[in-house]
Symmetry: C2
Subunit: 232 residues, 2 copies
DNA sequence: TCCAAGACTTGACAATTATCAAGCCGAACC
DNA sequence: GGTTCGGCTTGATAATTGTCAAGTCTTGGA
């Protein structure tokens, strides 16, 4: 790995406080690489050879069964994916592909497991990262099981609004068909869901959606931190 | 805690290899208690004061939103629940109630976090437990998003068959309405789903369900280890 | 500039799932 | 024994969601 990249990686501080030597051992045999959009990085069922870290861009995690496919989540900088598979030395449960040109750091699984036994600060950092991931999936599961499609969309828009804060408008950062799959509906249904939200002050123009932050939409969506707050 | 209980707890080996002293510190201020059926142990949104361990019986983890409720998972001996909340010192994302008379070990969250910083074997045990939990939710999420209700039921029956191995019949260990909620459908629909599976050799009599293990049902269900194998 | 591919939308229709209502049945209780 | 309650099932109906089939629009390339 180029030393320039090495510095960039170290700045991520994903791995807790590590000694210089431990850090060096961790990154031995790693790759830090740029990929174009729409490249499949890993396929579910494959052995977990590398821990992946999204440093730049965006990665879609998805799964298949028979002839169906669904988007499980979106990984944005800086976050790891498929950490659990690496730790358990088990097959990936999800596939991953870049949505845009992306920089990905790949660390050999063996290094991760070795660093955990060697460095307790590191294993604590892993516990924390995993706990965040776990709570993320639980929230997603609650979202799917407790809400209708339209309700999921409404809350998604509010979440976007909270993180973009662009004065009454948000820009959807992914393709609509990916969003549809993430929200657990067909693309056709997503279009209709937007239409359903029109009476609540939602106005769509391509990827740009206008709505008032404290509005009818919020009354309709009834967001709760236990599902919608990414930090809680 | 009675020393008898203490021995029982130590035998669980949930916590990796710990020194006697560390084990003692971990359990200080813990409770090991028997509860009757249908008692709410924790409520989502509450601060995570205790890590809970199901030692005997069965616990239903469920969530609410507005006037809806859904069963998220079933915790059986010996497993922890709400570990992630404890680690992050964050509110519980799920509520929990006993389904039957159950023995529950409750360890103060503070002890868990202290043990993690003090004992690296312990934090590695926590990483592993969390990784298993994470993969469990991911599988549940795939199950919900990729399959219809009938398909989820078929695969649930096959999973029961694999773990009970009672010669062509299984006994559903939970109430049908809980099962319906776990599978993401209404109780009425669960009844109909059983009826739909009749042509595949499924025969229901109360909680007892008969079907051949290598059968039409398996052809219909198309199970995959990446969703249905609890160990993978 | 034009074309081709694919994203997005809309309408018509079908499948799936939920809701409401009624009835059956077994367990718990008096 | 009789009664009540709640779990479970079934039928009828409604709501939700998915599928198929256009058609529009944008984008990228020839």
């Amino acid at each position: 790995m180029r030393s320039e990249s090495r510095e960039q990686v170290k700045a991520l501080s994903l791995f807790g406080d590590m000694s210089e030597a431990a850090f060096e051992r961790l990154l031995a045999g790693s790759y830090f690489q740029r990929f174009p959009a729409h490249v499949v990085l890993i396929r579910e069922g494959d052995p977990a050879d590398f821990l992946h870290v999204v440093v730049e861009g965006g990665v879609e995690l998805f799964s298949d069964w028979r002839d169906r496919e669904t988007t499980m989540s979106i990984a944005r900088p800086v976050s790891t994916f498929i950490l659990a598979a690496v730790i358990k030395d088990a097959p990936y449960l999800m596939s991953a592909r870049t949505m845009e040109p992306s920089s990905i750091l790949m660390i050999p699984s063996e290094n991760i497991r070795a660093a955990m036994t060697a460095d307790s600060a590191f294993s604590i950092a892993m516990v924390n990262e995993l706990a965040v991931c776990f709570r993320g999936v639980v929230k997603a599961q609650k979202n799917i099981k407790l809400r209708t499609g339209v309700e999921r969309l409404a809350n998604y828009l509010l979440r976007l609004g909270a993180q973009q804060d662009d004065g009454g408008k948000v820009t959807i950062p992914i393709e609509k068909k990916t969003l549809a799959s993430l929200l657990g509906m067909s693309p056709e249904n997503l279009s209709r869901a937007f239409a359903t939200l029109k009476p609540y002050g939602v106005d769509v123009d391509g990827a740009v959606v206008k709505f008032a932050a404290n509005s009818d939409l919020k009354d309709f969506a009834k967001p709760t931190p236990l599902i919608d707050d990414p930090l809680a």
